[in-house]
Each structure stands twice: as C-alpha cells, then as structure tokens.
Symmetry: C2
Subunit: 110 residues, 2 copies
C-alpha cells in the first residue's frame, strides 16, 4: 500500500477537476474517483473540498451543470467544461508546470 494519500495543496484542486472534465462530463463523485485513480491512489479528494470547488468553478463560468441520472441510476449533477473552462485549464496547467519547474530549480540545486 502507498500508505496515506497526500493532502491537496491550495490551487491544485481546481486544475485537477478541470482536467477530469476535459475527458467528458462527469458528476462530482466520479471526479473524485477519477482523480484518485489517475493519481495512482496518491491524491484523495475530500467531498468537503470538492463540492465547494465545483460550485466555485460553476459560478466563475468555467463549468456548466445539469441534473441527470448516474450509471447507477441515481440523481446526480453532471458538470461540463465551458470553453472558458477549457482555456482556463490550459492556462492553469501551464502555470502549474512553470511553478513546479521554479520550485525544482531551488530544491535540486547543489
């Protein structure tokens, strides 16, 4: 077992959500599962962080939502990227990579 999952850092949840939705519309619960799975069980998205984040992103116009039925026949709210969301995803991904590179330059210096 990989033991504990890592805590999320502020700011990364948004981009993880946006990325998840770039593969197609999903409901919140599925976003959480997808992130966990794709990260190799290292990242755990708490529901108490997830739903506020989704509402935030929707309010900003980066997501659109509508009610529907999940694969398990349950009432679920499906989120879909808007074009603004797609643009935001690109920008945030780039910013993340710049950030990682910058921190790495410090941490990996002799």
């Amino acid at each position: 077992m990989a033991g504990n999952s890592l805590e999320l850092m502020q700011g990364t949840l948004d981009v993880l959500i946006l990325k998840s939705l770039s593969w197609g519309p999903l409901h919140g619960y599925a976003v959480a599962e997808l992130v966990k799975e794709r990260s190799g069980e290292e990242l755990k998205v708490e529901e108490g962080a997830l739903y506020p984040a989704l509402h935030r992103l929707e309010k900003r116009g980066l997501l659109e939502a509508e009610w529907g039925l999940s694969e398990n026949n349950r009432r679920a709210r499906f989120y879909r990227l808007t074009s603004a969301g797609r643009a935001h995803l690109r920008a945030e991904t780039q910013a993340w990579q710049r950030y990682v590179a910058a921190v790495s330059r410090v941490l990996e210096a002799a």
Copy 2:
C-alpha cells in the same frame, strides 16, 4: 522580463526556506533573495509570509536563530538548520516530489 512572479502555494514556502538554509546560515532577507534568484526570478517571497514562516519553523525546532551583523553591517537575525530541520527538509522534499508526480499523472494523461 519574465513578467509576474508566481504566487506561492501553501506548504511550499517551508521547504524553500529549509532548502535555502541547507547551504548555510542566512538571515530572513537573504532567504527571500536566494529563493528569488535560484528560481530564476519566478518565485517571490513576500515578507508578510516569510517572517511568520521563520518563526513557525523556529518554534517547531527546525531552525535555530541568533542575532548578528549582516554583510552590510546591519542588525540581522541569522537562522540555521537544526538536525531535525535537516531531516524535515529531506522528508518534505520527498513529499513534494511525490505530490508533483501524482498531479502530473493526472494532468498529463491522454
């Protein structure tokens, strides 16, 4: 110009400070300059974040401090890594790398 510097993410400041001090004792102001320089001007450490962080780390026993005189003949508080701090640096660096790897797995998936 590289334009704006990136905002720090919660949690990274500590490890950046510890790493800076792993090269030898420094006063706070010098830590800020060092991080900025080593990161290629991408990271800017605000004083309003820096000094609380130093106090935090000192209180946790990861740093030791004493007053002295800077190269410019000014009163300055020099910080030095304790062995606990050194251990913490190793652990935090590893956690950071795990985190980056996990997020990257999500963001770089097809």
